[in-house]
Amino acid sequence: MNIGTRKILDRSFTAVGIGSIIVMAIALMIVVVPIVSNGIGAVFFTGTIEHRKLLRDEFKRGNSENLDSEVASSERYRAKVYDMLTGFEAELETMAPEKKTQYKGKYSQVRTALQALLGPLPGDQMPMLTRFKYGQTRWEKAEEKLHDLLYESKWDNSNTEVMSREYFVSRAKSFEGTSLAPLFPYLSHNVEKMLLPEFTVYWGFITDSSVDSHFFGGIWPEIQGTFFLAMGAMLFAFPLGVVAAVYFTEYAKPGFLNSMLRSANSTLAGVPSIVFGMFGLAFFINTLKVSPSKSVIAGALTLAIMILPTIIRAAEEAILAVPKTYREASLSLGSTKWNTIATVILPAALPGILTGGVISLGRAAGETAPIIFTAAVSVGSAIGLADVLSSPTPALSWNIYNLASEHEAAAQIRHVQYGMVLALVSIVLLLNLSAIVLRARISKKLKG
């Protein structure tokens, strides 16, 4: 090949390489940026007085005296709203029946929107669900609710040729000429004084339990559940996997049975995780009855079976990569086979074995399918270590799915979903990072 062609080929390979890295980086950004920017919104956000009330009532947190004075100032502005409502209710009674029915419907819409924005109104019965006991706790949501309050959403389907179109009608106009008309400008001017938004850092999102199916509070039960499941899986799979790898590499006689076992192991690594989930239910819960129904232990065992092949493979490769000369040196000093494995081979293979282990740990933390039938519940409080044998647990992976698709008010708690996603991604990333660091440190120690 002449030098010109070679150079051109060289350059084009470099270009292709750089190009693919750029594409990867962009893809990564597209995934990571929204996760991070939305996810941190669960901890850092503009919170309203309602959030602070919630913290005081549900978690006994915050400066109570400060809050009392804040509430007092907020109530001064709210009082005027309430007055206007009472005024309009009186006016309604004086209206002609036809007009009355018309305004009554509109008025009830206004009340509902006000309840959503500010919380229960005077005279309301105390609602059962916590989500109705408070107004908007997050300012960006409050702004949405304010919009709902000021404008009525209508659908234009006059033109049948095209899709219906949403348009907004100002409620101030609808109520023109009544005593409620001033309510709308008053609200838009004074909403901040009623809700007192301020920048909030809510670390409780990580350390608190959830309140009212994740409407409020944090995701600690999920984080803890994920931790229990992943650690539990490792507890079973890691020792078992390393022992199996030692057997395969050091003791197994080459032959039919051995190659069968190995290919079974490889096949197992490729089985879809939902199959492991079904297997876990059928085997651990229905057959072995490790627990009467879903439990952390059943989930951990299922995850352990799922990650076992990966751990075995990684450990096998690490053991086979240990130079033959170490084995020879040890044996020639009068070491037994077992001693050679324990004192020379395994220490030298440790970086590789640990890397495989931590990557599997990350996978166990992230998998959803295996725990659906065996361990996960949608909402629950953090369980104690003593309960792992009998209790199911919420877990990040399952609850991300659950909140996004099955929660009755999925659209209202997007920040929680994103927060969970960020938490899970961070945990997995942290695990992988620690694997890299650990590996580097041990390798350095081995290399001297």
């Binding site: 130079p323 000369t325 170490y326 084995r327 020879e328 040196a329 040890s330 044996l331 020639s332 000093l333 009068g334 070491s335 037994t336 001693n339 004192t343 020379v344 220490p347 030298a348 120690k445 081995l446 290399k447 001297g448």
Partner: protein, 283 residues
């Protein structure tokens, strides 16, 4: 090994001590010269392939025996048979007898772990463990039950001194052995082998990966150890064989062509093939 194989080397020279032709500059070793390792019609096979063919030889205790011969003639195979390192190769098997202190190395009752403690080996490429210098030397003694820190320190120092490397590493015993130079690593490997107090030292081309200066140090070391251990060294370097050994075995295609006192083999070989080889007519 059978029970009487565990006796110490002091009890060995009870057997007939042989005479050996030595040039004037080489001292006769008192208490040496017993037939320490004896091969009787000893063959080694890799599957069907016979790598070592029916050899008969006596290796004399406390003297240095060199093994020379062209590449692939079975030198390493024979050497590795003596401490049963060939066991690592599943297809490898033997016929005939190979005796160590009168006991068959491949006998049914032989404990190869005990055997290897008495027959130490240093390999072609230095192979220290990825551990500290101290832990490398202490590895063998620990294996055999020495755990007392002070005692270990004694053994480590003694072994490193015997291997003529103490002065170079005494201030960094806790450093990783892989940080040493190739020559230092090889002497460390010798020290590591000496630390388990073997009777026999097998060296398979111990200097082939080293520069001339490091090679000279290893050769000096062999001279130091001569008289304390039965030493067998495989080498491609004829000068080295004549410098360090008392007797030399010449292998060719698995056959032991000639085994004679070194001074005699290099100056007055009996077999024309030996002569061709040492004069460099083939290699």
């Amino acid at each position: 090994m059978t029970t009487d194989a565990t006796k110490t080397s002091e009890s060995v020279p009870a057997k007939k001590t042989r005479d050996i032709y030595l040039p004037p500059e080489r001292k006769v070793i008192s208490g040496g010269g017993a037939a320490h390792i004896v091969a009787k019609d000893f063959s080694i096979y890799y599957g069907e392939f016979q790598a070592v063919k029916k050899i008969n030889a006596d290796i004399l205790s406390k003297y240095v025996t060199a093994i020379i011969g062209p590449s692939g003639c079975g030198k390493s195979t024979f050497l590795r048979a003596i401490n049963r390192m060939n066991d690592l190769i599943p297809s490898c098997h033997t016929t005939g007898a190979l005796l160590f202190d009168g006991d068959d190395i491949y006998g049914k009752l032989t404990d190869e772990v005990l055997l290897r403690k008495k027959v130490g080996m240093v390999f072609q490429k230095p192979n220290p463990f990825p551990k500290s210098i101290f832990d490398n030397i202490a590895y063998g003694p620990r294996l055999h039950g020495v755990n007392d820190k002070k005692k270990l320190m004694e053994i480590v120092e003694r072994s490193l001194r015997k291997a003529a490397i103490w002065d170079e590493v005494s201030d960094r015993l806790d450093k990783n052995a892989l940080g040493l130079s190739g020559g230092q690593q090889q002497r460390l490997c010798v020290a590591r082998t000496l630390a388990v107090e073997p009777e026999v030292l097998l060296l398979d081309e111990p200097t082939s990966a080293l520069d001339p200066k490091a090679t000279a140090k290893i050769e000096d070391l062999i001279q130091e150890l001569r008289g304390s251990y039965t030493i067998m060294i495989v080498t491609h370097n004829m000068q080295q064989a004549s410098r360090v050994s008392d007797s030399t075995m010449f292998f060719y295609e698995g056959v032991l062509v000639e085994h004679a006192p070194t001074a005699q083999l290099f100056t007055n070989p009996k077999d024309p093939m030996t002569e061709d080889y040492i004069t460099g007519r083939f290699s």
